[in-house]
């Protein structure tokens, strides 16, 4: 059985074709093969949430997904959140304005997770936000400013500044 396989996948709107070892994680593929190092690795066994990416529209741990399993998939990483004109995603902007990050290590996973929450539940309660982010560990902020950031976007999208959440 060959220990390498060809995969073809769409990452942030761009199609890549690569040959990868079958045991390579999607996280290592994104970081080491595509040099998309915005996806961070904390624990590498699914606990910390730093490596969370979007796979076919659903958040997933890229450390618990093999690169070969992403063959044919559509992946969105932190690098794919900016708009075509280079402006920040509203949630990125909210994290900036509400001090939702300090060291920034957990932020990519936080953003991907919170975007999925806001898509499924555009007006979450504080408890909804805390529950949704419970699988993403932050060792700096104490979470309060992160929760504030997500709630700020929920408030904004309710009003006139409505902009579509990915």
């Amino acid at each position: 059985m060959p220990r390498e396989q060809n995969i073809r996948l769409n990452v942030n709107g761009r199609v890549y074709e690569r040959t990868v070892p079958v045991r390579l994680s999607l996280a290592d593929f994104l970081r080491d093969h595509l040099h998309l190092t915005g996806t961070h690795l904390g624990c590498e066994h699914g606990v910390c949430g730093a490596c969370t990416i979007s796979m076919n529209g659903r958040s997933a741990r890229s450390c618990l997904t093999l690169a070969v399993q992403a063959d044919g998939a559509e992946i969105v990483t932190i690098e794919g959140l900016r708009a075509a004109d280079g402006s920040r995603h509203p949630l990125q902007q909210a994290f900036l304005e509400n001090f939702g990050l300090q060291c920034g290590y957990c932020t990519p996973g936080m953003l991907i997770t919170a975007i999925e929450l806001l898509r499924e539940n555009p007006q979450p309660s504080e408890q909804d936000v805390r529950e949704a982010l419970s699988g993403n560990i932050c060792r700096c902020t104490g979470y309060q400013a992160i929760v504030d950031s997500v709630l700020a976007v929920a408030r904004d999208t309710q009003g006139s500044k409505k902009r579509e959440i990915v």
């Binding site: 059985m1 220990r3 396989q5 079958v22 045991r23 994680s25 290592d28 624990c43 590498e44 066994h45 699914g46 606990v47 949430g49 969370t52 659903r58 958040s59 997933a60 741990r61 450390c63 618990l64 997904t65 093999l66 070969v68 399993q69 997770t113 999925e116 929450l117 805390r130 529950e131 949704a132 419970s134 699988g135 993403n136």
Partner: protein
Amino acid sequence: MKPAWFDYYAPRSLDEALRILADAGPNGRVLAGGQSLMPMLNCRLLNPAILVDINRLEVLNSLDVTKDGLTVGALVRHADLLHDDRVRHGWPLLFEATKQVAHPAIRNRGTVCGSVAHNDPAAEHPSVLVTLDGTVVIASAAGRRELPAEQFFTGILSTALQPGEMVVALRYPPQPAGTGTGFVEFARRLGDFAMAGAAATLTLRDGVCEHARLTVVGMGEGPFRARAAENMLAARRLGADDRNEAFAEAAEKVRAAVEPADDVHASASYRRHLAGVMTQRALETALARAGAH
């Protein structure tokens, strides 16, 4: 934190998957959602020579409801159950428990059948399957067999699955009228594995308990069916004056029966205490939903 080498197969048909599993024997592992298996591979707690990835087998991605009940195929993710109104209304215990499985990203990938096949003692799905009198559908190259949930779970991370076999579906019978269910668990952080939990169903007729099922989560060996408490509750009047005493007795029977172990998360005596508290809360929830006043 990288897995050791394995041969990777992503078969396109169930027959092909079962043939590969038969050839692999004890060296083969089924990869579905990967939310338990991949951490074990990354930490090198497991080192299977052959991984059979079933994610391309669309035939297993089925959530069927008939008059005989609910059938959950091997590719149904936790999140799929939470998006299904038939599950929410028809199997509320399963729905409530699934909400408490880990975190959103884990629920998006992890499968119900995978959780059952893994049988982590702190996991929700094994206990729910036992409480609801569910059945495990097992396939191998030699054919199919079905096992009642209680015969399937044999100990910590252990089941009746033999080499070459895989879980292809779970069956949950319909919930009888007059039944209320409750699932509660306790963890220090939201979404963590529970230190203790309980799943309960109560079927009432004229304020009397006709049928009770109670299973305790997190007590060491896998789902713990609390038969002594169930028997005590059967035929018991559960009116406003009687219920507290009955549920306290049930909790006492559970505390006397469970055999939790000490670990880094909780001492055995604390788990025993929690088992009683979870029992009472699950029964109270079930009773309220069974329509008691």
